[in-house]
Symmetry: C3
Subunit: 347 residues, 3 copies
């Protein structure tokens, strides 16, 4: 695919400076070389690197002193993402192909074109056009997958699930496994069959080796356009809103309900049956034990406003000194005769 | 499968109220509809929902005002689990079938009936009757699997393991991978071969994408009826007792020994070479660095009695205020002439 | 394979005591039996067990009172690892074999001998001699794997990666999945295509169900001889030095750079864009939010020197008592007339 500086400027709604006719065949890092590549400068601190770049073009936040052609935009990161996606689109099936080693149920409904990779196993499923199901993926009976989805190698979708359009699932993720439901029977556990499903809406992306359990009776739901990083877990009956972002290794126990546009930095742990409101943002390694209804930035364990957590961490680090100070005050008071047998009385 | 209200009441040892002859074909949520379905009411707060339910029958904790037939039992949750399991039993092989794409070692001993799914790979194994090994699962040489087990798609069991009867393992779980054992050789690490195995007793269930490492020399053991949620890890030579429950993303380093009936809420982290006694229950997101021998509820990091942790969290949240109070006391004492150069002397 | 006590002593550079001609066919635990097996005694506390051992030979730290032949060495653990590795070497392909159910791209370059297991799927790859790729593993186009590597069943290597020699990857690990990169576009996320790769150097071992994401533009790198336990995650563009050790469930966000010889105990969480210096060792369940440049032992959250963390944990456990003490001091001062309305003024 070949574009030009001016065609990319049009794609981005940006203004170009320099040779608009310059052909561009791909993106690159500022420090790489390539007369037909476009890079980006997001920040004043890369100004010098921009001056000496060996790339043919740059996406910039303002016109810079460089020999490269430039496209000036408001949001450099977003513009670069769009150009990169233009050159490297998400995989999509263009011609109908089912690998001879794939095992497909005779009543599966595959809307052409789909691509089914080697050793993939499809039960009695429905799959929309454009979808790519890669090597060794498994899709159980009754699961419905929309259009233009990608299941990377070794993804497992249990039976009876529902995936929207343009859903991307990375390798090793397991969708629809049984929720962790047992009832006590004396000292023993009796399994509570997990009869619900998982519903994943359009444009969701799920990272490698994630697990999303099916609901106990109702469904576990992941809202449209939410992005989930590797090794995250969602327990049964969680409901996630739209446009969320969950960074890696985030653990969510069952039945927790999230609003829209939540972001969880990595390694967050969230108790079950909680409510997390719209636009709640939680910092890395936090633990959420209670509802968080109000939008804002939170962090830590115990979870507090993020700004407070930064101060609390310092206070925790200074806890030995605080103990020393209290000891010192006690001694001063005792010396002044102000504390004595009363202390023992108080205990 | 069709039952009646009275046959289910007999199954549960409960008393029925209303039309005992009503046919019931499955379970449902209280808010769903279905004259031939049975739901449950566990709590007084769903009393109104019970009155207007469109289900044919309900399992209830006491007789309620509703048109539905009722089965009155002591433990509603357990009773519902039993009825649901009755209608939705765990998969079991009924007729012997080995998918033509499966690869089975010629000396594997498969006790009919077993079901082996597409692309499953079995080494020189022993598998008991009733066991289902689903698509793409792998079982290494010398591994012995009991009767009525289920290995969901893409489960990996390394060589030489031993699984009891009715063991269920969810997709992506890896059993018997090498423990993390290395010896320092100057700046480098030399691998310590992991020569032990994993022994999983009857009725254990293991969640999706878990990892259970083989022992270094002896075995890693998971005791009968213990239930393990998704993304948990057990290091080499861990020994888990019977009837335990480990919620998601719990991490256990090597050689830790657990008693019976332990429960770990999600995202618990447990150091190696520890002893955790019978009936120890540890709250979510806790970190266990030391032995916990006495039964009871614990939580937090540092780990304390659960009730204390709730108060400690409040105290941690108030730490800035405590610092302020100490500052204030100091000033008061200084004003009173009770503290001065001594403070500097003390440092 | 049969050795003798004296041949093993020569292998270890140790001194033997007793019957050097005794044939030895394998290793065993001190408490097991076997006249042709060798065990080890690392510590004075196993002296009595050594006296009554039923093994033919022992690796010992000093000459002991036992009927077994002995090999005296300086580092017993390392010596035992070497002997065990000698009897149980890492798998290596000896004769060229490609299972008939494997799917190999016609232009893949496989340097004989390699062993490719059932249902493995190899794109247009290069694989060095001696490498074993087990059942159901997937290797994408353009990925280059060195010599004498082992990919256990169901490993996934995405396209365009580079693995050195003697790299071992355990089941379920996913290498080269997309990094978690999205740009905000109003309320929505636009995917930033992940165009970099993963480079894994010689002698790295990676545990079961780990995930290592490809770089956004540059590469994610794992340095030579670094060992990674199960369920660890490395985000895009992380750079790990040589001879590191990362215990289980350690989570590293993107772009963090590690020096050489770092060790992370289990369940450590590390923020993105951090620098961790050579010889930094971090205790279990710690959270690293800031750079840690100086070598040493650290632990906790907030992260402090390990020795300090032990004391801080005690102080945290005593926080309620500290609050009580402060209350008591306040009362004493108030009784002495030293604090009063001022307090309210200060607020």
């Amino acid at each position: 695919m070949t574009e030009t500086v001016s065609s990319l400027a049009a794609l981005l709604g940006g203004r170009f400076v320099g040779n608009g006719a310059l052909p561009i065949v791909g993106v690159a890092d500022l420090r790489m070389a390539g007369a037909d590549r476009i890079g980006f400068v997001r920040d004043v601190k890369y100004r010098d690197a921009a001056r000496s770049t060996r790339l043919g073009a740059l996406i910039v936040y303002e016109e810079l002193d460089t020999q490269a052609a430039q496209i000036v935009v408001e949001d450099v990161g977003l513009a670069f993402a769009k150009v990169a996606l233009h050159f490297h689109p998400v995989p999509r099936a263009k011609q109908h192909s089912i690998h001879p080693t794939a095992t497909v149920h005779p009543e599966a409904q595959l809307e052409a074109p789909v691509e089914i990779g080697p050793n993939a196993v499809l039960g009695k499923v429905k799959v929309g056009a454009g979808t790519v199901i890669m090597a060794g993926a498994f899709v159980g009976d009754g699961t419905k997958i929309g259009r233009d989805c990608v299941l990377y190698p070794r993804v497992v979708c249990y039976h009876g699930l529902s995936l929207g359009d343009r859903v991307v699932i990375h390798s090793g993720a397991v969708i629809g496994s049984d929720g962790f439901g047992y009832a006590r029977d004396g000292a023993k556990w009796t399994k509570v069959p997990q009869l619900g499903s998982v519903r994943i809406d359009d444009d969701v992306e799920i990272g490698a080796n994630c697990t999303i359990d099916r609901g106990a009776i109702g469904d576990t739901k992941i809202g449209a356009r939410t992005k989930i990083d590797n090794l995250c877990h969602f327990g049964h009956n969680c409901v996630v809103g739209e446009d969320g972002a969950f960074a890696g290794a985030t653990f969510v126990a069952g039945s927790t309900v999230f609003g829209d546009r939540v972001t969880m930095a990595g390694h967050v742990s969230i108790a079950g049956h909680r409510k997390i409101g719209d636009d709640v943002r939680i910092g890395g390694n936090s633990c959420v034990l209670f509802d968080v209804e109000e939008a804002g930035d939170y962090m830590g364990y115990p979870l507090v406003e993020k700004r407070k957590w930064i101060r609390l961490m310092t206070a925790q680090r200074d806890l030995l000194e605080l103990q020393d100070q209290v000891d010192e005050l006690r001694k001063a008071i005792e010396q002044a005769g102000g504390l004595g047998s009363e202390r023992n009385d108080a205990k």
